[in-house]
């Protein structure tokens, strides 16, 4: 029996769908913004997102400051941040938009820290008295799937990690028009990491609010991932003309990814997600993305830690829908849920001609490599922040072996 003893907070508001962009001036000015500092990455440049952003702000009376996409050659991250900081404060901006995914949102969050709490924050770190301070209005506008971290309350800046509830974006706005063409590997990576986070939260969190977000995220992924990737016949074909259907589906994946970020902000121990990132960093094979790895671990983690619990059986509901759930007898529901997850991998293995691995073996990680990784897991203290105990680590090692 779960006891419903929990706290849950999702600071961000989601704005999703058609003409969403036109809501942004109203929302930002509702938070007191007049001059908006816009950061964007190269992907958003390719989707020509500024072309949509400008008219959305027409007639709003607000001013936009457009930064060029950060160039890899123009210096270190710190240089770019300093540059932004000078421009931002010098010209009196009062709010931030991050247009794009991944590093650009980290830059936006770091900039928000610097301009709201002062640049000393990078030396002194986050102090308890900072917890209550509010930062400047910050909107995150995904142009692709994303990793989920964008909408969480963490920022990574030069290997320093900052965590503050107010760092989560005030607004996550997903507009189909902003979606950029992306490689299938990237889309799968985003979708799979979101799926892992949502599924694990759904099964392990004794928290109806988190479960509600998670189940919506899972349903979004289940309904839009396959249509998105099956719009073209050949796996290796380049993403050609980006049609409306493609954009709509990708927007749904981006939306689910943002939802997974809300959940990441409320839970530290999403095992498959962390394990996926760990493997992607430490394994010797290239091409195994963190998302793919997380999806490989996900069914094993659920089996290992949730076994035949009612919570795992319930997972069939968002994965399969109401009709499928009520068709399966209760004793078979847990197995059916695992089966669906495994089947997703198998199907992608097939349609990608083996490019998406079903197991660590497919990804070229052999038994000896697994043994080395297992050792590393036991030693390293990367798990302390996730709060997983020694026994848990043994179980994780077992997960690794069975994957």
């Amino acid at each position: 029996m779960n006891t419903d003893n929990f706290t849950f907070l999702c600071r961000s508001r989601s704005l999703f769908g058609k003409n969403a962009l036109e809501h942004l001036p109203f929302e930002l000015s509702g938070m007191g913004a007049r001059k908006v500092f816009v950061l964007r990455d190269n992907a958003s440049e390719s989707s020509d997102s500024i072309r949509h952003l400008r008219p959305a702000f027409a007639d709003s009376g607000m001013t936009l400051g457009l930064c060029p996409p950060p160039d890899q050659n123009s210096g270190t991250g710190t240089d770019i941040l300093k540059d932004c900081y000078r421009t931002f404060t010098g010209k009196g901006y009062d709010s931030i938009i991050a247009l794009g995914t991944g590093p650009i949102t980290d830059l936006a969050k770091a900039l928000n820290l610097a301009v709201s709490l002062g640049p000393e924050v990078f030396k002194r770190g986050i102090q308890p008295q900072d917890q209550a301070k509010s930062l400047l209005p910050f909107a995150y506008l995904p142009t692709r799937g994303g990793s989920g971290r964008e909408s969480s309350c963490r920022a990574c800046c030069n290997a320093q990690i900052f965590e503050l509830p107010a760092l989560a974006p005030d607004i996550v706005l997903t507009d189909e028009r902003l979606m950029a063409a992306d490689t299938k590997e990237n889309i799968i990576c985003s979708a799979f990491s979101a799926l892992s986070v949502c599924c694990e939260t759904f099964v392990f969190a004794d928290n109806p609010m988190a479960k509600a977000y998670a189940s919506a995220g899972i349903s979004l992924l289940m309904e839009h991932l396959f249509p998105l990737l099956e719009t073209e016949n050949e796996w290796n074909a380049r993403p050609a003309a980006v049609g409306n259907k493609y954009r709509r589906n990708l927007a749904c994946i981006a939306h689910a990814s943002a939802i997974s970020g809300f959940l990441l902000a409320n839970s530290t121990s999403i095992i498959s997600f962390h394990l996926g990132n760990f493997i992607a960093e430490n394994a010797d094979t290239s091409g195994l993305t963190a998302g793919s790895a997380a999806a490989i671990f996900l069914p094993r983690v659920l089996e290992q830690f949730a076994g035949n619990t009612p919570a795992l059986a319930q997972l069939l509901l968002p994965l399969g829908g109401q009709d499928a759930f009520s068709a399966v007898p209760p004793v078979q529901q847990a197995a059916a849920a695992i089966h669906i997850l495994q089947n997703i991998l198998n199907r992608f293995y097939q349609i990608s001609f083996g490019a998406v691995p079903r197991s660590l073996g497919d990804a070229g990680i052999d038994k000896s490599a697994v043994a080395r990784l297992q050792e590393k897991i036991q030693q390293e203290d990367i798990w302390t922040e996730t709060g997983i105990s020694g026994a848990g680590r043994d179980k994780i090692a077992a997960v690794l072996l069975r994957s």
């Binding site: 029996m1 006891t3 419903d4 003893n5 929990f6 706290t7 849950f8 907070l9 999702c10 600071r11 961000s12 508001r13 989601s14 704005l15 999703f16 769908g17 058609k18 003409n19 969403a20 809501h23 109203f26 509702g30 938070m31 007191g32 008295q129 917890q131 209550a132 509010s134 109806p208 609010m209 479960k211 509600a212 977000y213 189940s215 919506a216 349903s219 979004l220 309904e223 749904c252 939802i259 109401q322 759930f325 009520s326 068709a327």
Partner: protein
């Protein structure tokens, strides 16, 4: 899954739930650096001993500056002004609001005045008039129904000028909602039933009305499931604290759902019955919910069918022929009402004519129905209703609900 072309969703309230969540108050207030709250409640809540439970839980670590129980059943501008003055005089730095909708609305009103350092509330009416964060406010709901701890709106009546001021801003939301199973222990059975049906109406309307979206659906369906599972057992055995907490959470989930996707004609009509005949909101909701579904049946059959799974569970869902689930959903809600009628020994009315006040006089005489229908024409919630409703339509629904007979769906006018 139904995804509308456009939707918004969010609830930036820290939800803290448990059997001892009140004890976390000091920690939550410590984050913004507050330690001298005003405790705001009403006489009923105080008499039930709930304010004392809160005081006991927080007094060691907080310096409660004043405990005020003068909030009237519907919030009042004069009271808000008085209490705001008191807040300033006593040097409070935050508010803990213990109670139902009117306590929280009053607290929101006080918070606007003291944070913006003014005594004119008028300037904040309408949507989006506030531009920055207010002072800390913590909500402790005591009814498991209204969901006002997670709604952005506040309604404050100006009795002198005889009008209602409506406020809507994300800055009005409390910083945290403490959902504690102790708060609903002493709730009388019929009030528990009525408030839970209010939550049910929020959840069901959120799933059926025009602003339905995937995230509000997920919240609403979980709320429906919990109410169906726990409400009846809890009437028989209120000591079950897991059940109480689950039901209180259902109310919060339903509140989150409807504050994002809004409610329709059931609430429009309910507000009107409430304001004309002074019937408690929950009772109106219990009676009117099924009629709202019947009225919109031709436009929302699929949506009504979709909630059967949460209402009746997978087994009944699987066994219901594909042509009947929507009707079955409506039957489920009617059956719940009848069961509650039995469980509360007749105190939970199932039709308008059965509603009685303390002296056993009928609360809704039939000759009042035209006045109610007229009032309903001016309720904004009807905007979110899928089908249009005019004066004759309101009257038709009211007459059926008064008698307690199902609505004749063939008589509903379709476009």
């Amino acid at each position: 899954m139904y995804i509308p072309d456009y939707y918004e969703f969010g609830c930036p309230v820290n939800i803290v739930a448990g059997h001892d969540s009140l004890e976390k108050t000091a920690d939550i207030l410590a984050v913004p650096g507050s330690s001298q709250p005003m405790l705001l409640t009403d006489k009923g809540v105080r008499q039930a001993g709930l304010a004392d439970i809160v005081l006991d839980a927080v007094k060691d670590r907080l310096d409660i500056k004043c405990v005020e129980d003068g909030v009237p059943p519907d919030s009042d501008l004069k009271v808000v002004r008085q209490l705001a003055q008191l807040y300033n005089q006593k040097g409070c730095d935050s508010i803990i609001a213990v109670g139902g909708g009117s306590v929280l609305d009053t607290a929101k009103g006080i918070n606007m005045l003291v944070s913006e350092k003014t005594d004119d509330l008028m300037q904040f009416t309408g949507a989006g008039a506030l531009k920055r964060k207010l002072r800390p406010l913590i909500a402790v709901p005591t009814t498991a129904g209204t969901g006002s701890e997670v709604t952005i709106a506040a309604v404050i009546a100006d009795h002198e000028k005889n009008r209602k001021m409506i406020f809507g801003s994300h800055f009005l939301l409390p910083d945290a909602a403490l959902i504690d199973s102790r708060m609903t222990l002493t709730l009388p059975a019929h009030i528990r039933a009525a408030t839970a049906m209010d939550a049910m109406a929020h959840a069901v309307e959120a799933c059926v009305m025009l602003s339905k979206n995937p995230l509000s659906d997920a919240h609403a369906k979980e709320a429906i499931r919990r109410i169906m599972k726990h409400l009846l057992p809890l009437i028989a055995e209120p000591e079950n604290k897991e059940g109480r907490l689950s039901l209180a959470l259902a109310a919060a989930l339903a509140g989150i759902a409807f504050s994002n996707s809004l409610v329709g004609m059931v609430h429009a009509l309910g507000h009107s019955v409430g304001s004309v005949c002074h019937v408690p909101h929950g009772n109106c909701m219990a009676i009117l919910l099924s009629y709202g579904l019947e009225y919109n049946f031709h436009k929302t059959e699929e949506r009504i069918a979709d909630i059967l799974f949460s209402l009746a569970g997978p087994e009944i869902y699987a066994k219901t022929p594909k042509s009947q689930p929507a009707q079955k959903s409506i039957d489920c809600i009617r059956k719940l009402n009848r069961d509650l009628f039995q469980a509360t020994k007749g105190l939970h009315a199932t039709c308008l004519k059965d509603l009685k006040d303390r002296e056993q006089h009928p609360m809704v005489p039939k000759e009042k129905l035209p006045e109610i229908a007229q009032t309903a024409l001016g309720d904004g919630m009807v905007f979110y209703n899928p089908e249009d409703v005019d004066y004759e339509d309101w009257l038709m629904v009211l007459e059926a609900a008064w008698e307690g007979v199902p609505l004749d769906r063939t008589k509903v006018r379709k476009g």
